[in-house]
Amino acid sequence: APNGNGRPAGGPVLAKPPVRKLAKDLGVDLAALTGSGPLGSITREDVQRAAAAPAAAEPLTV
C-alpha cells in the first residue's frame, strides 16, 4: 500500500535514494535494518550505525 512518503507498493526500501546508495557503498543490507526516520524510513544514521558495528548487529546464534 502507498504510504506517507509517497512510495508505491513494490517500491524501494523506505529510504531516500542517496541513503540507499550510501548503504550499497558501505555494504549494508537495508532489508535487515529497522528505520528510525519518519514513518519508519531508514536514515543515513541508521546506515552508518549498521556499517560501524556489523558484528555487534549480528544476532547471536546458538
Binding site: P2, G6, K16, P17, P18, K21, L22
Partner: protein, 463 residues
Amino acid sequence: MSEPNDATFDIVILGGGSGGYAAALRAAQLDLSVALIEKGKLGGTCLHNGCIPTKALLHAAEIADQTRESEQFGVKAELVGIDMAAVNSYKDGVISRLYKGLQGLVGGAKKITFVAGAGKLVGKNVVEVDGKRYTGRNVILASGSYAKSLPGLEIDGERIITSDHALTLDRVPSSAIVLGGGVIGVEFASVWKSFGVDVTIVEALPRLVAAEDEESSKALERAFRKRKINFKVGKPFEKVEKTENGVKLTIQGGDTVEAELLLVAVGRGPTTANLGYEEQGVKMDRGYVLTDERLRTSVPNVYAVGDIVPGLQLAHRGFQQGIFVAEEIAGKNPAVIDEAGIPRVTYCDPELASVGLTEAKAKEQYGADKIKTYNYNLGGNGKSQILKTAGHVKLVRVEDGPVVGVHMVGARVGELIGEAQLIYNWEAYPAEVAQLVHAHPTQNEALGEAHLALAGKPLHAHA
C-alpha cells in the same frame, strides 16, 4: 434528485489552467469522473499569457543577442532588426501546437467532461455555469490569477500596460519603464533590452528579484548593469503622468523616468472575486483561498490549487498541487508537498534558478553557526566560458548535514535545476553528489564542482 439538466461528478474543477487541468488529468487516470470548467482557454495563464509566450520572446531575444555578438565567436553576421510580427507568429505557433496537444489529452480522457463557460460556486459542492449546475462529491477551486496594478496606476493597455498587453505588442518600443523587479519584470526587461529597447526597472525593494538569495540578486544586477539595463531600487513609485509621447514616472524622493510605455509588473492577484467562495464559507485572506497543507479549504471536500493558494505562483506548483489533490481524493494519501522544494527559474539573461532555502532563511531556520555555504564561480567552468557567461552556483548546507539550498546564476542555468531539485528534496549530502563526477565539459559540471568543493575535495576550484 437533480434536474435533468444537471450532473454529478466525483470532482468538479473550477478553472482549466495549470492547477485545474493537472488535477483533471490525474483524476481521470485514477478513474474519477471530472467536470472541468473553463471560461477562457484550456491551459490558462501559463500557456496563453504566461510561461510559454514569455519564454518564446526570451528565446527570440537570445537569438538577437547571439547574432549581435556573433563576431566574438568568429561568426560574421549582421543583425538587421526585430520583426515583431514574425516574433509573434513564432510565439503563437508554439502556443497553438502545445494548446492542440493539451486539448487532445483532455478531450481524449473519457472521464473528463470539459465545460466551456464561467462558473460560480453556488453551493458547497455545486458550481453553476450558464444556469446549469455541476455537483461534485469534491470541488477543486483553480481560478488562477490576474495582473495587479497599484492605486493611482490605471492600466490603459496602450501606454500603461500589463504583461497581457506586453505579450501582444505589435512593435518594439523605443523605451520602456518596468515597474517591478520581480520575475516577470526582469524577464520583460531582458527581452526588451535584447530587442534594442532602452529599459529602466523601478523596484521599491532594495534589490532586484528580492525573493532570491542575496548573492543571486547581486550577480543579476551586475549582469544587467553590463547589459545597460537601467534599474532603480529601494524607493517606491509615487505617480505616473502621461506625456506627449509616453509616460513619466516619479519615484518617491522626486527622481523621474520617462519612456514610451510603462509595464506594470507588481505582482499577480488571485481571481476569486464574485465567484461565490466566501458566500459558501470558504475562508479567505485578502482574496487568497486559505488551505491546510493537504490543500483542503475550510469547507469539507472543497480543495484549492494554484495561484489562488498563498505561496509561489508557478505553473509546476499548480501541476504538483493538482496531482496531489486528485490523488488525495482517490485515497492515495500522497506525501505533503514541501513548498521550498519546488524549483524556481527566472528566464532572463542571465538566468536564475534556485531550490530550497536562501542563505538568510537557512540561517534563520538552523542558526547562523550551523550553516555553511560555497560559491562556485562559473569562471572555472569550461562550458560557461565557452558560452561567455558569468555567474555562480551557490550551495547552502547544514553543517554535517544535507544541502538545503541551491542558487544559480548564468546563461542556461535553469536547466540545472532538475538535478538541484533532486538534491534538495532527497536531502543529499555534498559528499554523495561529489562522488559522482559530472560530465565534462557541461554547465551541470559546475553543480558537481560546487559539491566537490563543499565536501572538502575541490577539483577545478580553490578550497
